[in-house]
């Protein structure tokens, strides 16, 4: 039996009724619904615009959203524990500012990346510790973290700083060919490695299972003798690290640092996670679902770009609508299993 099957519903159940089998599968319902929605949108798009039906359109969804995928991965950890991290967008901007400034001052790109990871992870760790030791709502602590990170951006510079470092520009322009017509960017590879790593951590390590247990019932997890405290702190560190990685990926993508960048990106990340089937109350969710969530957001954007007549703000309205539908779906689902 493959390791994956433990998180999948058991295929053979001797004793359980059809009803309970359905309920067992119900935890995948929101994620599956998102996947179906994504495929549907792709098919509809192909019907409306012939050029939509190309592998590259699909790959571009990844290329244009590498940073959001990584952010959503970190956010998934936090939301599964029942928390929230509002600081991620600001930490992305801070990472970009730090990257751009350090490169401008002639630092080695490797040192720059290391520094950004330390800053992002450190900020996350700090917020996690405040949340845990002072028992403060994650909403408030990460809101404060958001203001702090955004404020630091302005301290560094009010203007946009462009990145001219050869390593960064080569990463921005590099194309990894998959076939004669299809290609991806190095950023996509990095994002996929992060997703794979996160999947492994969540499903095949004790830390990952503790994340789920905390989301299910924190008190129970504590009484079972699990490492609740350190796990709760570490998920914010993971989210901070992911924000830093996303910041670097965004730098690869935009080749600049700007204080106002990634405004509201934390909300996009939360939307992607929720649309991907993670319950805001915690305990249920999958990183792969969050990736599909990001792709759904991406395809909505592509749609509106293809249409050409709609203002890009329609993206926001559609995403808002989708989010509402998914929250309602979740409510229905949790009510049934409660």
């Amino acid at each position: 039996m493959s390791p994956l099957s433990t998180v999948a519903p058991p295929t053979v159940k001797k004793t359980s009724s059809v009803g309970s089998r359905l309920r067992g599968g119900a935890r995948y319902a929101p994620t599956l619904a998102t996947l179906v929605l994504f495929i549907l949108m792709f098919v509809v798009g192909a019907g409306m615009y012939p050029s939509f039906l190309s592998g590259q359109v699909l790959l571009n969804l990844f290329i244009d959203n590498t940073f959001l995928i990584v952010l959503a991965v970190g956010m998934t950890f936090v939301i599964i524990t029942g928390g929230i991290d509002l600081s991620v967008g600001a930490v992305v901007a801070l990472s970009m500012m730090v990257t751009a400034t350090m490169l401008q001052n002639g630092w080695n790109p490797a040192m720059v990346i290391l520094a950004v990871l330390v800053i992002g992870g450190g900020l996350g760790l700090l917020m996690g510790m405040v949340i845990q030791y002072f028992d403060i709502q994650p909403f408030i602590v990460t809101l404060a973290g958001m203001f702090l990170a955004r404020g630091l951006c302005y301290v560094i510079s009010l203007d946009s700083i462009s990145v001219t470092d050869p390593f960064f520009t080569s990463m921005a322009q590099a194309r990894i060919p998959l076939s004669e017509e299809l290609f991806i960017s190095p950023g996509v590879l990095i994002a996929l490695v992060v997703v794979g790593l996160a999947f492994f951590i969540l499903h095949h390590t004790r830390f990952g299972r503790t994340v789920y247990a905390i989301g299910g019932n924190e008190n129970s997890a504590m009484l079972m003798g699990l490492a609740v405290k350190s796990t709760k702190i570490l998920v914010y560190c993971v989210s901070g690290l992911c924000s830093a990685i996303a910041g670097i990926l965004f730098s690869f993508y935009s080749l600049s640092g700007y204080s106002l960048a990634a405004q509201g990106m934390e909300l996009d990340a939360i939307a992607a996670v929720v649309i991907g089937g993670t319950l805001l109350t915690g305990g249920v969710g999958y990183v792969l679902g969050s990736v599909v969530g990001v792709l759904v957001l991406g395809i909505v954007q592509t749609f509106i770009a293809y249409d050409g007549t709609l203002s890009s703000w329609w993206t926001k309205i559609v995403i808002g609508g989708l989010l509402l539908v998914f929250i309602l779906l979740q409510r229905l689902f949790t009510r049934r299993t409660a």
């Binding site: 390791p3 519903p9 359980s16 309920r23 299972r209 789920y212 247990a213 299993t337």
Partner: protein
């Protein structure tokens, strides 16, 4: 009995919380291969003692030794590492995870840094088989299973670690009879395998069925340790409530009120048949006539408040029926009860009854305004008259309608609460512990008031932990035991001992 070294020995344990001494020099021993019942009323310190042993609370003073080694637990993980496992009343597992994860969480076998899910499943099957739970699929979600199975899975978790000590805190409170016997079979199995089991239950019969030895606590103090077979149920109860039977006898003054007026009333105001709710209380058969005081007697936690909540619709009954004045009624919510003339003074007057930041006047008018609907405000003049009347009638002090409720003494708060219901002149008033925690003077006043209301034709359900008070006031006594109503006796010359005999189950 193995009288060698106890598996667990707790000596002179003290734990205090601000303003309360939860445990005061309590000692406790637990031997291998025995089921040891920890007995006491609510608030006696049972939970605190358990939490001290499981590392949830840190002890202020005293000594805990496990297998001869002194331990200083400050987290549940440390206690578990010492071989102590606990199954709490509200099953402390994660319902969002699978059965196998709940059994193995935190101890999953790993191979090259990754959890070996195949080994997890195999080990879970092994453990479940030991508990006769072969039918439970390890990969199914915990939430798919009944509370009883979840409880057994929690036990499976402790079997998995080869726990030396298993603590079961009220494991049977939400199980039905079959589930209880399945649980007991598992417990006896474990005991025979040498596990020391600490068992806490409000159900006396279960304690006598299962336990070998018991320790009785009262008000955070140790009363004593006894072999179950040497301690009669009567003696156990008197040790739990802390009064000798003879003393209880003296306090009892049989109700002197005439029963004659009951004869004229053929129609009971409220009748219930087999009323109950799963996990709460069952088999409530009451007939309450106008002008009658029905006392609910039973140990704390036996199901008295639960009965009251069913009658008032605060909890929805899932079996049996209620009739009011002969008409069947679906008691959907307290609203329904109030509409049909039922009032309920909660046991917890601070949390569920009064609104501390409003004045005496506001609190008094609240219930009446609610019955009138919010749109029609009661004129200030009428309010003033009513409030003045009740302040005088009930001798509420200070006699100031604008005093804030939270500044009043407990007894006076209780009077306001009573007055609040009297304003609406209900046909039936349920009083849950109306005299608890108030001084003797106010207590007598409230008792007199109950008498007066009944003689004016109001039906009253009176709940109190003080048996003598119940006997003094009630015309009839319904006895609640082990979360079911077991007897309904007319209070003519009933003694405290008679009631205790019923509670003890005729032993």
């Amino acid at each position: 009995m193995n009288e060698l070294v106890p598996v667990v020995e707790m000596t002179d344990i003290a734990i205090g919380f601000p303003g309360v001494k939860a445990l005061d020099d309590v000692s406790f021993r637990l031997f291998q291969g025995e089921v040891h019942a920890l007995m006491g009323e609510n608030g006696a310190g049972k939970s605190t003692l358990i939490k001290a042993l499981t590392g949830v609370y840190t002890i202020d003073s005293g000594r805990i030794t496990v297998l001869g080694q002194q331990k200083n637990f400050s987290t549940p993980a440390e206690s578990q590492a010492a071989g102590i496992s606990t199954v709490y009343q509200e099953v402390n597992l994660c319902t969002n995870l699978t059965v196998e994860e709940n059994v193995m969480l935190g101890r999953e076998p790993r191979r090259r840094g990754s959890i070996d899910w195949r080994a997890v499943r195999a080990r879970t099957r092994e453990v479940l088989a030991q508990l006769h739970l072969e039918h439970v699929e390890p990969g199914s979600l915990l939430s798919e299973h009944s509370i009883a199975v979840q409880q057994l899975i929690a036990i499976a978790r402790s079997v998995e670690v080869n726990a030396k000590v298993l603590i079961l805190d009220e494991p049977t409170s939400s199980l039905d009879a079959d589930e209880v016997s399945q649980l007991f079979r598992v417990i006896r199995d474990l005991r025979d395998r040498g596990v020391a089991i600490l068992f806490v239950s409000h159900f006396l019969e279960q304690v006598y069925e299962l336990s070998d030895r018991m320790t009785v606590l009262r008000n955070g103090k140790l009363v004593g340790e006894y072999m179950t077979r040497d301690l009669s149920r009567m003696n156990l109860i008197s040790k739990m409530i802390g009064k000798d039977l003879e003393v209880l006898e003296e306090l009892d003054q049989a109700s002197t009120r005439s029963q004659a007026r009951l004869a004229a009333n053929a129609q009971p105001f409220l009748e219930t048949a087999g009323l109950g709710r799963k996990g709460s209380v069952s088999n409530v058969n009451l007939s309450i006539y106008p002008g009658e005081v029905v006392g609910l007697a039973g140990l704390l936690g036996a199901g008295r408040t639960e009965t009251a909540r069913l009658l008032f619709g605060a909890d929805k009954a899932d079996e049996g029926s209620i009739k009011i004045k002969g008409e069947p009624l679906k008691m959907r919510s307290p609203r329904t009860a109030i509409d049909h003339g039922i009032g309920f003074c909660s046991e917890d007057r601070k949390e569920e009854g009064l609104i501390g930041d409003l004045t005496v006047r506001d609190n008094l008018v609240l219930a009446m305004q609610a019955t009138k609907g919010w749109a029609r405000r009661i004129p200030r003049r009428v309010q003033d008259e009513l409030v003045a009347e009740f302040i005088e009638a009930l001798d509420i002090r200070p006699a100031n309608p604008d005093a804030l409720i939270r500044n009043l003494s407990g007894g006076n708060q209780q009077k306001v609460l009573l007055a609040r219901w009297m304003v609406t002149s209900p046909d039936l008033l349920i009083l849950d512990e109306p005299t608890r925690g108030i001084d003797i003077g106010a207590k007598t006043q409230i008792q007199k008031l109950v008498n007066r209301l009944a003689s004016e034709g109001m039906s009253i359900v009176f709940i109190s932990s003080e048996l003598e008070e119940v006997l003094r006031l009630s015309d009839r006594i319904a006895i609640i035991k082990d979360r079911a109503m077991v007897a309904d006796i007319s209070n003519d010359d009933v003694s405290v001992e008679d009631v205790l005999t019923v509670i003890a189950g005729g032993a």
